[in-house]
Symmetry: C2
């Protein structure tokens, strides 16, 4: 009779909650406390499950391969690239293993650390490559343990290239990728998702194509979850390979490796390494234009797009893997033309979620690190509380120390010369500092004609949301209220709003207005007089570098300033102003004056002394307007303060 | 320079979070998860601290004394009285110890169980009296352990009356209240707040007034936290006593015991027991009117009001303790005339918070038990999760069984005859059941002229909030949508709103519209067709007594349907629709048809068979409209369903 069921489950009237025990998210099962709402099923799935779900739903996807950079500066650039290319929605990225580059070390350029950064700091599902030849079991186990500790969940198991000219088997050693696959499964059970390489033309060292297919089958049967192929130049090559694999019983996903030709030399080098032959029809096009980089790249994009279309149209291919060579333009272009680059303006939460398994369920953060999410992750990496999905009150966990300014992902992306152009080769007064803040807000060039595109507290141009407040921000920065963070109040905009929306559709998002700035003690004195009038409407925290702290926060409780209401879910409150963590943030915020700005100048120079003066004497202030349904009163507070001073 | 500080704390820039560790609520210190916001400082304080805070703030208070009733029915009535008198805001109530009534037992009339009910089910701060004479140490320790287990935090330590005519000391036994005080402190350390009795005229058995004062001092120095006095008839008596206490070094609070004269016989009996003498001026007034109860009560109220005014005006008295004799009218009248009866329309949460120490911080509950809060507390009493302050997802803790219908606080307050008058001496069809529901909603008398003031699912008249929906509810009940729970949608009303407000002032409260009802399978079939149109806007759960369950809830997650946003706090979401606990509620909701309604009729009678039919064949449905800022669409859903059926 009742048959329009969507979810149906049956529980006899005597047995309780049978239904619930077979469902619900991980986090809600683990705890009887208010569970972290699952905003995004992706956050709880393993890579192989995500792949399967995409295949089932017919939703095409792509992935991106990168290699570890040679220098720390290049690493900083690569991470920016992860952030930008991550915006297109890759299912995963992978990082190759550079045996010559100390790949398992803690160096900022090692394979391990780059993959760690991608997972933890950029929130990308990441596969770490690992080769096994010429390494002891203990070395390999050590690398795998470290990868697990860092939150990596996926390994591409490879043999690697032998050291000498000739390949010699080692007795008891790891001679083939299959040995590594077996080792991972025996030592780490089902913890890792394992990927292996497939060779559409057969491995160059295999006896023949059929023998190579058998090797591939061995790797899959030893425990590999999916296959990524070597590059190829014709879609038929891949489709034949795929059918041959299926014919011998390989049923796992096989992902074609796509190499958009980006230049004459990179193609030649890759071909040499892979021992592949470039088809004559491609050579015929490329040779005549080999000195015209743009032309070659255009051709490469065309070629890749048409080959990818053929693959996708075959119905056999659900995802495409791109060899990016750490470059952005060609691959992005191919993906956009294929229509699978999906820059989704909707965010699962207002901030980027880390992909570390234990941080995937994190859903509350203090607002202070809004523009420095990597610093927040770094400073909270030792917290073991994230399995509960909540950040919570910071009074228990300690924030990591700030001595690690050398850490490449906390450094500015811009080189010193550029920073000096933006922030002033020479500062003459506090007002010249106000000018820098004002230019950053307005986007206008400074008096030397340079735009200020970043600040010590903000390594990126102004957020779209902050643009809503531009006019007011400009006015107050000019007068010495040096803003570093702000958000407008929002009273129930749809969660799909392109600027302020986040979370699943059908919901409503809210914000309390927030303003955070540095300012002089003179202004603080006036401000405190003004704030008395506003009583509990405005919560404030005011602190100087020595930690003298003034607040009206009740019991030092956190104040939720961003929250969302969604169909069929609990309330989500991803951003809070927390009085306790504010004191940790204060250390960082003040230190940035010195570490990023003052140190650009000679010791004892007037410029440096001006910044040092501000660091020593200014206060860091944050204000929250609790009356979110009314017009934001914080501008009035600031106006009243200036008026009092006049 | 900065001196307008409110909270100030200083932390050197090298030490982190020093500030936080010395503050914050209990719950936020215990856990790094999103802490339960402290809505009400009271909830975390011990009684003696509450008393001190009220004294410091100059906020006068009162407390109420009750004795355990003789019968189970009287117990049910007394509990209703606790709920009503609790609304006036007593600082605490106390329950006397009846040595003859098996006071420590599990009987529904025992002192222990009545105090347990007051704390856990009525949410009242409660003092349990306990006497010590003629009892072994082990008995007393056992009683105290049980009290602690039940969540009682306060003990009034008394000697009690000797069994024989003459008082004889037992060697090694408990001879005086001071022995009990010492025992509590030595066995339970500082767990209990301890109250002792003071005698403004001296204890009748004491050698003299001075000796009795010395005994009192001993009790205080042994660890008592405050004193409640025996009744007295003149304010001078108390004020002199208080000064005498202070003169010998008793500094703890001394609370005058007020006895509003309510009748000639009760006065005579009390005087006999307490061995007090009634002043001649009172006797002179009372004797002539001794047969006029109303006149005596009026006089008693006048007398109590004027004596209380004198006490409060003296500046030495901050709180008044009332000997209610389990009666309501006189005491309430005195309190109202004194202006200290404070019926605060503002609630700390939408439901009454239990005063059990571990449940004080509870801040989320499923909506289903909204009208049966005592049942919810009963069925969740074994959960040990409340220290975290959250109810959370119900998939882990089991709900207690429902076999305990005999439990006096789950029974209807109305006797069988009254229920029959309301719900029908004889039912002729399902429609006559619809009629009962409709009369309950409208408040109109039924065809026999009786108003329906309660239902099996609702032991009280319709809530004010539900009145907002009256018209629509009437319409649908008439047609067989038998509503048992509902709330309108609310999009940000002030937290001080007299009807829907809750929580501290300055906040905003929100609700999603909710409707819960029983209905026939025919209507359910049509309803499900209609619901398809609404997609995710409306979440539904539909279940029959056998547990066949139909829902579109994503991943069986809870849906927050009441939440509040407050200045300087995290979001609070006190009510959720939880798919898993719904199946436990279902058992209770269906069982109430039989236990409370069907069983009013003879077995095999047509009336009983009609209720049994509904029990066996109807569905229990709940609907949530997720789009709270728009007009409630649930009435449209129901209209569409009826239209489809026509």
């Amino acid at each position: 009779m009742v048959n329009e069921t969507q979810h149906t489950c049956s529980a006899s009237s005597s047995s309780k909650s049978d239904c619930g025990s077979s469902s619900g998210s991980e986090s809600s099962k683990d705890s009887s406390r208010c569970s972290t709402p699952v905003l995004d099923a992706d956050r709880h799935e393993r890579l192989r499950e995500k792949m399967r779900r995409r295949q089932d739903s017919g939703d095409k996807w792509f992935s991106l391969e990168f290699f570890p950079p040679r220098t720390a500066n290049a690493a900083v650039n690569l991470i920016s690239r992860f952030d930008r290319m991550g915006a297109g929605g890759p299912l995963f990225i992978d990082v190759t293993w550079h045996p010559a580059g100390d790949p398992g070390s803690d160096k900022e350029t090692s394979s391990m650390i780059i993959a760690n950064t991608a997972v933890n700091y950029c929130g990308l599902e990441t596969i770490l490559h690992m080769t096994c030849c010429n390494q002891t079991k203990d070395d390999i186990t050590g690398h795998l343990q470290k990868a697990k500790r860092l939150g990596l969940k996926n390994i591409m198991a490879l043999r690697g290239d032998p050291v000498g000219e000739e390949w010699e088997e080692e007795v008891e050693g790891f001679n083939y990728a299959v040995d590594l696959v077996k080792h991972i499964r025996s030592e780490f059970d089902d913890y890792f998702d394992i990927c292996v390489a497939g060779y559409p033309k057969g491995h160059p060292e295999a006896e023949n194509y059929e023998a190579d297919l058998r090797h591939l089958k061995e790797k899959v049967f030893a425990g590999a979850d999916f296959i990524i192929t070597q590059l190829f130049f014709r879609s038929e090559t891949f489709l034949k390979f795929m059918k041959d694999c299926q014919a011998i019983g390989i049923t796992c996903p096989i992902i074609p490796g796509i190499f958009p030709i980006q230049g004459y030399h990179s193609l030649r080098q890759l071909v040499k390494l892979s021992k592949l032959e470039v088809p004559q029809e491609i050579k015929d096009v490329i040779e005549p234009i080999k000195d015209n980089d743009a032309a070659i790249r255009n051709y490469g994009v065309e070629l890749a797009v048409s080959m990818c279309r053929e693959l996708l149209d075959s119905g056999m291919v659900h995802g495409l893997h791109f060899y990016t060579l750490n470059r952005e333009v060609a691959t992005t272009e191919v993906l956009k033309r294929l229509g699978i680059w999906k820059e989704d303006p909707r965010r699962p939460l207002p901030w980027a979620v880390s992909a570390h398994p234990k941080r995937r369920v994190e859903d509350v953060r203090p607002i202070f690190w809004a523009s420095r999410p990597k610093s927040y992750i770094y400073r909270t990496q030792e917290w073991d509380d994230f399995p509960n999905g909540r950040w919570g009150n910071s009074s228990s966990p300690a924030f990591g120390e700030l001595k690690d300014y050398y850490l490449f992902y906390l450094k500015s992306k811009s080189p010193r010369e550029e920073l000096l152009k933006m922030w002033g080769e020479e500062l003459t007064s506090e007002e010249s500092v106000f000018e820098v803040f004002t230019c950053y807000i307005t986007g206008e060039p400074n008096k030397n004609g340079h735009k200020v595109t970043c600040m010590p507290w903000n390594d990126d141009p102004l957020a779209t949301e902050t643009n809503l407040l531009k006019e007011q921000l400009e006015k107050v920065n000019r007068r010495g209220i040096l803003t570093i963070n702000s958000q407008p109040n929002i009273n129930g905009k749809p969660s799909t709003d392109p600027i302020v929306g986040w979370g699943p559709s059908g919901g409503y998002v809210f914000q309390k207005a927030y303003l955070e700035f540095f300012t002089s003690s003179e202004i603080v004195t006036a401000l405190l007089k003004v704030l008395k009038k506003y009583e509990l409407r405005v919560n404030y925290h005011i602190v100087n570098v020595k930690g003298q702290n003034i607040t009206n926060a009740p019991d030092l409780q956190p104040n939720a300033v961003t929250w969302g209401i969604f169909p069929g879910r609990e309330i989500i409150q991803p951003t809070v102003v927390d009085p306790v963590s504010f004191l940790s943030w204060k250390d960082e915020a003040f230190a940035l004056w010195i570490e990023q700005w003052a140190k650009l100048y000679e010791e004892e120079s007037p410029s440096r002394m001006i910044i040092q003066y501000i660091h020593d004497n200014y206060y860091l202030v944050n204000l929250v307007d609790n009356d979110f349904p009314l017009e934001n009163c914080l501008w009035q507070v600031v106006d009243d303060t200036f008026e009092l001073l006049n």
